[in-house]
Amino acid sequence: MDQLLQHCVNALVLGGTYALLGIGLTLIFGIMNVVNFTHGALYTFGAYAMYLAAVGLGINFYLALPVAVVAGLVLGAAIEFTLLRPLRRSDIDTTMLVMIGAGIILQSGALWIFGGVAKAIPNPMPDQPLNIGPVSVAWVRLFVFAAALVLIGVTYLTINRTRLGRAMRATFQDHDTAALMGVNVSLIYTATFAIGSALAAAAGALLGPVYVVFPQMGDLAAVKAFAIVILGGLGSIPGATIGGFILAFAEEIGAGYISSGYRDAMGFIIIIAVLLAKPTGLFARAERIG
């Protein structure tokens, strides 16, 4: 029983960051119909930005986080402006190839600048874990969990409660009509990609201090993000949130009670099951976002 409780707490904390990873990806796909293959690289970028800010420049840990997120926002906007905007009328294959190329450039760039050896980001939280009965959890993980929930909440509110969000949803429903109604569709695309990128960078900046930072860290993260998005349904923010938690629970319980050797396979077993039963994903409502 103690072990089960510990597994559940682990899964909950892990799920928060998985959800964050999934939302950035699902947002971009839902609104722009772009499969963002730079997602993993942006996650890595966020972690290195955090490393540079916190370790390189010596900025306070809690201030370095928003710096890394803003860096992700700016990079995302730049990618959209230089690569995606000229390709707006091209087919999905071309866009996909360009994005794969951009991802490789970003990853190789990190390798070139920082080398292949992993970097650690120290955090100011106490080393001793928080103990509640038989369950222990590190303070830094609790902080990451809380920060992830805040970011998810802010994203949800931005899309459902702001003018920008309304314009984004309108563009998603019918971008020609939205354009006719005076929505600046180009700006919406840039904003969407920038927000999605910022969320990926935020996930990297949050998890960098929990794990270690290295150029290929985004590969596994991207695979998980795609899994979460497929699980939750393409374009659905609640879907990606819940999908993130489902994946975390599947991995944690699977590794704890079935076999740790198949930990990373558990998520995919669930995805296959979901796709067989409900091919659009658990929460996809056709042509809606929010």
């Binding site: 892990l14 080398g115 080393d127 874990p129 222990s136 290295f214 290929q216 991995e251 704890g256 930990r263």
Partner: protein, 384 residues
């Protein structure tokens, strides 16, 4: 063809031309290491150690009157790439000998290529038993197989009074091989073996495995993984409040890096290593150790890397000694020469003994194994 004066002359002229042409050319040594991916830190250290040896050898005039040249390729911590890199080094760069490939799965994937092209390789790090028992006569290993590590650990296990041991190992030939060999030794000594948990080499979050190990009734956890994963493990153990005796194997711990990155979470852990750079005077070849450490420092590398990089240094020195002993820089002569190597390495004499099926033996040198301890974020040598 009957040997006439003309053909003899021609042959001599050709041989002369060939040898004078070769005297200008350096002898190439292929280095197949993980410079990116999960084992990037370790592979990079090995390469830097190898470069020190090559520079030292060249400064002393090289081998057989020729300089040596390292051709370094990245196997990306991926067995498929390791085999491809070996093939590229042999067929395109025409290297007559290789150093590689760090991990057991990487080395095992490379071995069929050695056989295919009859090119010898000095294995500097891998510890899976299979490498020197599967009948590949082109393999010469200077690192200890996990059975030798387990044997060296036997008196320690008795002294520590281990009752029940769980394992947490990397899910590849290295980790599984270590779990098998240590289990065998422990069971023979009346120690119970409990859980054998595995983790993928790319895994960053091991909390599920650790929660399971926390709930087990074993007193000790034996861990086999490389430095980056060990750092994460110690941090995650501390986060789960898991307080059991932890012993790591495999010799790729880089204890100073663990202390720097995991801090107090690394306290009270034991590590089986194959080099004692903290006390050069205690190493089998103190003079060479001091030279190596001085050179490492001069090049501005982090001290933490030396427990890994000394293998690259010893590996290249072994290869150079093999070339010298073989008398020529072709694969067959080097293979023959390696059997004659008798070198004082940084971790004891390097001298190959036959291992594996008769007629197709691999070479295995038997290095020292030590136990060190991290206490109050400092490293101590556990005397036995």
């Amino acid at each position: 063809m009957p040997l006439t004066r003309r053909t003899t002359l021609a042959a001599m002229a050709f041989a002369f031309m060939a040898s004078s042409a070769m005297a200008a050319d350096p002898i190439k040594i292929g280095v197949n290491q993980p410079l990116t991916g999960a084992f990037a830190a370790s592979g990079t250290y090995v390469v830097n150690g190898a470069k020190i040896a090559a520079d030292e050898i060249n400064a002393k005039g090289g081998v057989l009157g020729r300089k040596i040249e390292l051709v370094i390729e990245d196997n990306k911590s991926n067995p498929t790439e390791a085999a491809a890199v070996a093939e590229k080094l042999i067929t395109s760069d025409k290297v007559p000998v290789l150093l590689g490939a760090w991990g057991s799965s990487l080395t095992l994937a490379t071995m069929p290529k050695l056989e295919e092209y009859s090119v010898p390789m000095v294995v500097e790090t891998s510890s899976s038993g299979k490498i020197t028992t599967s009948g590949n006569p082109f393999v010469f290993r200077i690192s200890p197989p996990s059975a030798v590590e387990a044997e060296a650990f036997e008196p320690i296990a008795k002294k520590l009074g281990l009752k029940k041991v769980d394992f947490l190992v990397i899910n590849n030939d290295w980790g599984r091989g270590a779990a098998d060999d240590f289990s065998k030794m422990l069971k023979a000594n009346g120690v119970q073996v409990g859980l054998v948990e595995t983790m993928d080499q790319t895994s960053q979050d091991m909390s599920a495995q650790l929660a399971k190990l926390k709930a087990s009734d074993a007193d000790t956890i034996m861990v086999t993984a490389a430095v980056d994963q060990l750092t994460l493990l110690f941090k995650q153990m501390a986060a789960l409040g898991l307080k059991k005796r932890v012993i790591t194997t495999g010799g790729s711990q880089n204890p100073d890096q663990i202390i720097a990155q995991a801090g107090s979470a690394a306290n009270d852990t034991l590590h089986l290593t194959t080099f004692l750079p903290w006390w050069p005077e205690k190493t089998p070849n103190a003079e060479a150790t001091s030279y190596f450490l001085g050179e490492w420092k001069k090049r501005g590398f982090e001290f933490a890397g030396v427990t890994e990089s000394f293998r690259g240094y010893d590996g290249i020195r072994t290869i150079a000694a093999g070339i010298a002993a073989g008398g020529a820089a072709d694969p067959a002569s080097i293979q023959k020469g390696l059997w004659a190597v008798n070198l004082s390495g940084l971790n004891g004499p390097i001298k190959f003994e036959k291992s594996g099926p008769k007629g197709k033996e691999s070479g295995q040198s038997k290095p020292q194994v030590y136990l060190i301890e991290i206490k109050d974020q400092k490293i101590g040598h556990v005397q036995l």
